[in-house]
């Protein structure tokens, strides 16, 4: 690699950092929340066509939700940037109950752990986690 290329690359990185800063400085972006159960069901459906959610545990702040379908399968939906991302809740996902809070940790580290404030429902959904069929 030539010196010119290294300078060009360094200049690119500076420009990239400037543009990312500019996005923030301009106030672009949003703070998406899951508005209600219907919204959570729609997001689960978008993540898996035909999922058919029927039951929802929504985080009090609307940051995340667990959606259960008629077959008893569950989907974790959480905010990601301006949008949402979802993962199936299966036996590989660990759950920790702490009073009103349920923390789900998927095996995929990059997705990160998600803590939902569910109030009294937290225990109910933690129990449902234990009913997930093995796989």
């Amino acid at each position: 690699m030539t010196t010119a290329f290294l300078i060009q690359t360094a200049a690119s990185v500076v420009a990239v950092l400037f543009l990312a800063w500019l996005v923030k400085a301009m106030g672009l972006g949003s703070d998406p929340r899951i508005a209600d159960a219907d919204h959570a069901i729609r997001l689960a459906e978008e993540a898996e066509t035909g999922f058919g959610g029927v039951d929802v545990a929504r985080d009090r702040a609307g940051f995340a939700a667990i959606v259960r379908n008629g077959e008893g399968r569950m989907m974790l939906v959480r905010a990601h940037g301006n949008h949402f991302a979802a993962r199936p809740v299966d036996r590989q996902m660990s759950a920790r109950l702490d009073k009103d809070f349920l923390t789900l940790t998927p095996p995929e580290r990059s997705f990160g752990a998600v803590t939902l404030q569910l109030g009294k429902e937290a225990g109910v959904w933690a129990a449902r986690m234990r009913e997930i069929p093995g796989g």
Binding site: G50, G81, S110
Partner: protein, 304 residues
């Protein structure tokens, strides 16, 4: 090999200015079109792609020059004499791009490299620069090799490929609705390419064109954008992460894990079958998603 300037280098200032212009438009119309961390990831992936190209570009040029020795026709590079060859080269290079791009969505090995470009849930000009780091490793360059065997000089082909890449920059935007009808009929446009980046079942695996949308119309992969169905962007299994490295390699990691754990007779299939394929049917390909979606639609909804 003849030396021609790299048009992309000259286009970079325009890219930056257009990015800022699009941000201003977003500020007025819809602030959620941009997100700082997403933009940072996209642009850093673009920068990384430039570094990767610099590291392996010489090898691609070497293969091109070597193959050109076995050419069928002697085609010169001087524009005044060979202007028709330039036009033909641009046209055929775009056809080669279509073949590459379609394969990049239908063969997991190529998808592992191309998925980077689709991994943002946003659709803005920074997404255009979210480019692969592993294109050489995935052998994406093989789709252009027939051009060198025909006899098009490598410098001409690489110049045309760069123009193709520059053209595709401006179509990565929600700031432009529809272009004039005649233009939409022939050229790839923001509307057509929004569909290509869509994860709505209706929009999956469509509009692979680079410059000319005619290839999709000819080969049956064209799907128009519908006003009643806004495009949702990204990939079927959204990343849920802004990690630059993970965006660049996650599908390769997925292939490695699948090949490692699959029964022997299925190992290769995890590389060459379509994304989402699994030997036990536990995952869904785009065709399966579409089928399931169609099954849940009223009849008139699925008519295209």
């Amino acid at each position: 090999m003849d030396k021609l300037p790299d048009p992309v280098t000259y286009a970079i200032p325009a890219f930056l200015l257009l990015l800022i212009a699009e941000m201003i438009v977003s500020l007025r119309r819809d602030r959620s079109r941009y997100q700082a961390r997403d933009t940072l990831t996209s642009l850093m992936l673009g920068t990384g792609s430039q570094v990767a190209s610099a590291l392996v570009g010489g090898m691609v040029v070497g293969v091109a020059v070597w193959l050109h020795h076995f050419r069928l026709f002697d085609i010169g590079i001087e524009f005044r004499t060979w202007w028709w060859a330039w036009i033909l080269c641009f046209f055929l290079d775009d056809l080669a791009y279509y073949a590459f791009h379609r394969s990049a969505h239908r063969v997991r090995w190529f998808w592992a490299s191309h998925v980077i470009h689709h991994s943002s849930q946003h659709y803005n000009l920074s997404t255009a620069l979210r480019q692969t780091w592993t294109g050489f490793f995935s052998l994406a360059f093989i789709f252009r090799l027939p051009l060198f065997l025909i006899g098009f000089p490598p410098a001409m082909v690489f110049f045309c490929a760069a123009l193709n890449l520059i053209y595709q920059f401006w179509i990565h935007t929600e700031a432009i609705g529809r272009c004039p009808k005649w233009f939409e009929a022939v050229m790839n446009t923001p509307s057509h390419h929004r569909v290509h980046h869509g994860v709505n079942p209706r929009y999956l695996d469509a509009n692979y064109a680079g410059v000319f949308i005619i290839w999709d119309r000819m080969f049956g992969s064209f799907v128009p954008e519908r006003d009643d169905e806004p495009v949702r962007y990204g990939i079927v299994k959204q990343l849920g992460s802004f990690s630059i490295l993970w965006a660049a390699v996650h599908e390769w990691v997925g292939i490695a894990k699948d090949v490692w754990s699959a029964p022997w007779k299925h190992k290769l299939s995890y590389m060459w079958r379509e994304p989402g394929w699994s030997h036990d049917g536990s995952r869904m390909t785009s065709d399966m998603i579409k089928e399931r979606w169609k099954a849940g639609q009223p009849d008139e909804e699925t008519v295209e």
